[in-house]
């Protein structure tokens, strides 16, 4: 295939995937407000458009037009760069998520922007870089609350990334590949072939760690508003604030996508007779189910204390994930022999 076609194909797929992701981010904020409202016996946004459906667009416009304030005493360069460092890793991970069975497009193959053979590690590599944006943003603001929020987030992300890394090892042992497409294809054959049934413990530890990793309630230490005003982005406003916001929601969608691929069969249909539905619909359904779960626990649980969070990560989740690896490894060895 010619270089020109390859580049064109890549650009088209990137444009489509980014469009869908950013639209999902916008409507994730809407879904969150609506679902939380219904849980609290309210209606939520109703004014802009029918049932408030245009609310995310109004919010977006508002954020773009707001005044951009840089606090005095802030480190201007780092202050400007931090939101970007936060956002890029959240979006770049979608490059390796397979959203459909391979299909041919312009003489090339579609279905995923690029099928790296180390796809899973690639996502984690960039996810770990996202922490820089948070820590640097907190530091550059020259504010106590922001600095504390940034430091808390740093500690939290480092701890819970270990848990995420350990929980996926079981899946890797089963599928014998780091490529997300290979992992999805390994779960082919319907509902009962999903990794969820072979790796239930890993699924639970992964989901808990994913909530903590994306700084969501009940683990939203970095921005605990009752203690830290708004955490690391206290001093941010306008566009830069919007970037942090986008990054948080894009990260949520990314970890949910990843959970669907790793444990829920990705784009595979749950049963044979449903195969006529295109793969990306299944991936979207599974991802949105997990996103609903995110909102659900936000509406249900109170925030934990910071020391409880650390203790829970290091003394409960990591040992459980390690035992899970050991058991899976022994199991795979016995089955293979």
């Amino acid at each position: 295939m010619e270089l020109g076609t390859t580049v064109l194909l890549a650009v088209i797929q990137i444009a489509v995937v980014m469009g869908v992701v950013l639209l999902s981010v916008a409507y994730m904020t809407y879904a969150e407000r609506k679902v939380l409202s219904f849980m609290q016996d309210r209606l939520g946004p109703m004014e802009v458009g029918p049932w408030g459906l245009l609310q995310p667009i109004a919010d977006g416009l508002k954020l773009f037009m707001k005044e951009d304030i840089i606090p005095s005493g802030a480190n201007k360069i780092i202050f400007a760069v931090a939101p970007i460092i936060c956002l890029i890793p959240a979006l770049i991970g979608f490059a390796v998520v397979p959203y459909s069975e391979g299909f041919s497009l312009l003489g090339g193959t579609g279905g995923t922007i690029t099928d790296l053979n180390v796809g899973l590690l690639y996502i984690f590599a960039f996810a770990s870089v996202g922490a820089y944006g948070v820590i640097l943003g907190g530091w550059a603001s020259n504010s106590k609350y922001a600095l504390l929020g940034g430091l808390r987030s740093g500690a939290q992300v480092i701890s819970y990334e270990l848990v995420i890394g350990l929980s996926i090892v079981g899946v890797l042992l089963l599928s014998e590949s780091l490529s997300l497409r290979a992992i999805t294809e390994h779960q082919d054959g319907g509902f009962w072939h999903w990794n969820l049934w072979v790796q239930p413990v890993a699924f639970v530890t992964y989901v808990i760690a994913a909530v903590a990793e994306t700084n969501r309630l009940p683990f939203d230490m970095p921005e605990a508003e009752s203690e830290l005003v708004a955490g690391f982005f206290t001093e941010y406003s306008g566009m830069r604030f919007a970037f942090f916001f986008l990054a948080e929601y894009a990260n949520m969608i990314l970890v949910s996508c990843l959970a669907s691929v790793l444990f829920l069969g990705g784009y595979e249909a749950p049963a044979e007779f449903l195969n006529f539905v295109p793969g990306f619909v299944w991936l979207a359904l599974k991802t949105w189910a997990l996103l609903f779960f995110f909102i659900w626990i936000r509406g249900t649980f109170p925030r934990v204390r910071f020391d409880q969070l650390m203790k829970f990560g290091w003394k409960v989740l990591i040992p459980v994930a390690l035992v899970n690896i050991l058991v899976t490894a022994v199991g795979v060895y016995i089955v293979n022999n």
């Binding site: 780092i78 590690l121 590599a125 770990s128 922490a131 820089y132 640097l136 740093g154 500690a155």
Partner: protein
Amino acid sequence: MMQAIFIYLATVCVVCAVLTVSLRQPVYNVMALLTMFFHVAGLYVLLNAEFLAVVQIIVYAGAILVLYLFVLMLLNLRSESRHLHRQWPFAVLILGSVAAMLVGAMQAGGFGLPTGEAPAQVIQAVGNTESIGLTLYTDYLLPFELASLVLLVAMIGAIVLTKKELIQDHGEEQS
């Protein structure tokens, strides 16, 4: 094309490495080092070692450097007014001679060395991660285990150092 990418990556690596030791603001040093890690990862990608590239980012950028940043923020360092150590002429002398030696060695050896047992095609046939795993856990098992032992010792040492007071308190209670 490859050559151009290599020259770009290598140049940024060197420039960032110099900036890492020469910038005055500690946070900028960390940022320069971060940029360098990414470009080193790029070099690995050029050499068809995707696994190493990704692990380079996870381990160095994602874990070690975040801890550096963490410590920097807790210490609240002022940017140093006189950042060159007074022994810098000696450092320049020694590093200059090492660099001259390296250049000399490269000139004498040339770049037309034979390729190793596992050129890119062989590795791609097995898979990047698989070939590293197989080599690491068969041919290099002993060094691997030794390295993990060293890390374990360091870990226990760190715990003992940080928990010194607790251990002493406990000892006094018993006596």
